[in-house]
Symmetry: C2
Subunit: 420 residues, 2 copies
């Protein structure tokens, strides 16, 4: 069905066909009195309402009067770990009591507790959990997520996670870009044999992932005490040879070489980057790698520090913002919350934050040519928000202003009515 | 109409008839398989479902099957400034650019910009704004707010603010405890004449507030550069003589004597307390004054520090959590967000946070004998949340899990359906 959104304060993010850096990182493409016409899952007209209404099909569709509200592309959340079985409530309590990561792990918590729970969950049950979580993402204005495996850490459980993500994506309500994150942590049965575990993932699991087309990307946790640069390189090169794109968890806890590795392999994204130095940023810029920042995890862990967004922007590296949705360090599915954290704690401008959450998010998810921008031929993924000034999306916090969410031209969420 | 909520994971907060401190500050009164029966605006039975279902009226009402979900008292948000005309989006941007409070004020921002906007808004328009904001509070599970004037700073505008709050409260959807905060800042026309302004508020405005019963409380901003202890004392003593209860903005920016002042006058609350010392806490404890903490403003301002919740709790002072909802330093209406900040950044336990947001919030709003607890004879203000473990209310952040909200026994908000 054709759908027409009129009377919109439109943010198109129209611009060069590349991740936005430098001055372009602040350009939201604002059109007051804008409109968007959708058909067959794509945008057939977008721009000033008088021009869109001149389109011959503009009178044939269902009309959504935005009443002057903000309309913009759905968020593309380019870093999530949704394939988990249970929230980690006990860890959360222990952390509030001042317990360290080591003490929490010793008490049976940490990532290994998620691994144990995930292994005990069926593909069917995991799919249902993912569908419930997807509804949360959608109602907050996210229309696509990059979604990682990585709580299975054995062949069957990693494949189960990716298959469940495939079922989720097949539903069509929420776009899913699946990522194989076998080297997320070393499971107990491989303790002390990190290299062997990474090789097992590359030789035994990756071929099945590729054969069944279960993932578009491969990712690694490059960090001291987890996977070193050499192990990560071997795994990622195997992934590239198998046809997957690359991502790297880089410089989160320490300066460990992940950013330079990502640049050397021309990975799509380097993620976290809390400890990235200027050399790292130069390498990322030269490689065209997107810096995917996830400040929600710093917030949830109560850290005093944040990823160095300003330094990264000033270096001319394109920035994507993502939730890092996961049960241990960031139980947040709401990109509007990440926008607020980005401005209040990373000192991004509202415009930079919005570009990072849409068009740059799309590039960070490998969808830059088709998503994240409201322009003819692009995916009809867009959201009407209950505000007339786009800065409000970053200003109010702990909130959800999404009122109507379109995915591929279909309404996938709507509050009861628009109060026009 | 009678209403029955069954199949609930019930948090009653039943306990001693006083603000909770010490061990009682952690007691949520959990009842699995609980139920609540409401009639005529109050609770007529609450407890284990089998006992509640034995009540003769239990079959006569509308039944809400909570499906095992958490059911607890509505939040009582005991510190809000909702009577403003406009969000301060420009200040927000400038702060992200690293501008100081002084630079923002020089650019035409800061509280004086809110004063100017409020003075130019009619009582009717302000009432509509308050109603829209009330809907946001309600949908997030807040059933009562303490609400301050304080952006008028002249006689007509302060009275206009309080009258608009009275209209809001009369609607019955959201409980409103109005507070007269004339000495919030010194308006431009009284610059350099702080004492004269405070006396004007006490002698010319307060009598009308009292006469028209426009406020239940009086509040002052006790701070260096704002109102000193002597000025605050004079104003608050006049307010007490006029029949109002007392509250004090204390020790927010510097250690200025507000906490001891609150204790000496046996104020209902001392609010903020970022810089309170152990002597202050001893005085508050002895006075029975509730420490009302508003960490959302620290978060929004990007401060590294938080109110010293653990030290306050350890001193045996009862703690209430509130939003501080206001356009300058905390544009957040969602108490669930404050719970998350309280645990992640102030290291409160989930139980302490929940007690602080309900029963202690009620005491901090002067409603401790009738609100904040699910027990026979108490106000039927309660909320069904879409989680089965109450810790989830603090754990997920940037979210709203409220599905059905009852105010005085009536449904005032409900999502489309419960997914049982």
């Amino acid at each position: 069905m054709k759908q027409l959104v009129t009377n919109a304060t439109l943010l198109t993010f129209a611009g060069p066909d590349e991740p936005r850096a430098g001055a372009a990182a602040s350009n939201v493409g604002l059109i007051r009195q804008g409109a968007v016409l959708m058909d067959e899952g794509v945008i057939v007209a977008a721009g000033p309402a008088d021009k869109v209404l001149a389109h011959p099909d503009s009178r044939k569709g269902r009309v959504h009067d935005a009443g002057g509200r903000v309309v913009m592309p759905g968020f593309v959340d380019a870093h999530t770990h949704p394939a988990f079985a249970e929230p980690r409530l006990r860890d959360f309590e222990l952390r509030a009591q001042g317990k360290t990561y080591q003490e929490i792990a010793a008490a049976g918590g940490g990532i290994i507790s998620s691994v144990s729970a995930l292994r005990g969950t069926t593909e069917r049950d995991l799919t249902v959990l993912l569908q419930e979580r997807a509804a949360r993402f959608i109602e907050c204005g996210t229309t696509t997520i990059e979604a990682k495996s990585g709580y299975g850490l054995d062949k069957d459980s990693e494949l189960k996670s990716l298959r469940a993500l495939k079922h989720l994506g097949a539903g069509g309500m929420l776009g899913v870009v699946p990522t194989f994150l076998g080297p997320h942590a070393v499971p107990p049965e491989y303790q002390g044999r990190t290299g062997e575990y990474a090789r097992f993932m590359a030789r035994e699991v990756l071929p099945v992932v590729a054969e069944e087309k279960l993932a578009l990307y491969a990712d690694v946790f490059c960090e001291r005490g987890y996977f070193g640069a050499a192990e990560c390189t071997d795994f990622l090169q195997a992934a590239r040879a198998a046809g997957l794109g690359l991502r790297v968890h880089a410089e989160q806890l320490t300066h460990s070489g992940g950013a330079k590795l990502a640049a050397r392999l021309k990975a799509c994204t380097a993620d976290h980057l809390d400890h990235a130095d200027d050399d790292d940023l130069g390498a990322l810029k030269a490689a065209g790698t997107v810096a995917c920042l996830v400040p929600g995890s710093n917030h949830f862990l109560g850290l005093g520090s944040m990823p160095p967004a300003r330094r990264i922007l000033d270096a001319g590296v394109p920035v994507a913002l993502a939730t890092d949705f996961n049960p241990g360090t960031c139980p947040c599915w709401n990109m509007q919350e990440i926008l607020a954290i980005a401005v209040t704690r990373m000192k991004m401008s509202p415009e930079e934050a919005l570009v990072s959450a849409t068009v740059n998010g799309a590039w960070a998810a490998g969808l830059g040519k088709t998503h994240g921008v409201l322009a003819v031929g692009q995916a009809a993924d867009l959201v009407i928000y209950d505000c007339e000034d786009y800065r409000e999306l970053c200003y109010w916090f702990g909130k959800n202003l999404a009122v109507t969410v379109f995915k591929a031209g279909k309404v996938v969420h709507s509050t009861a009515e628009l109060r026009v």
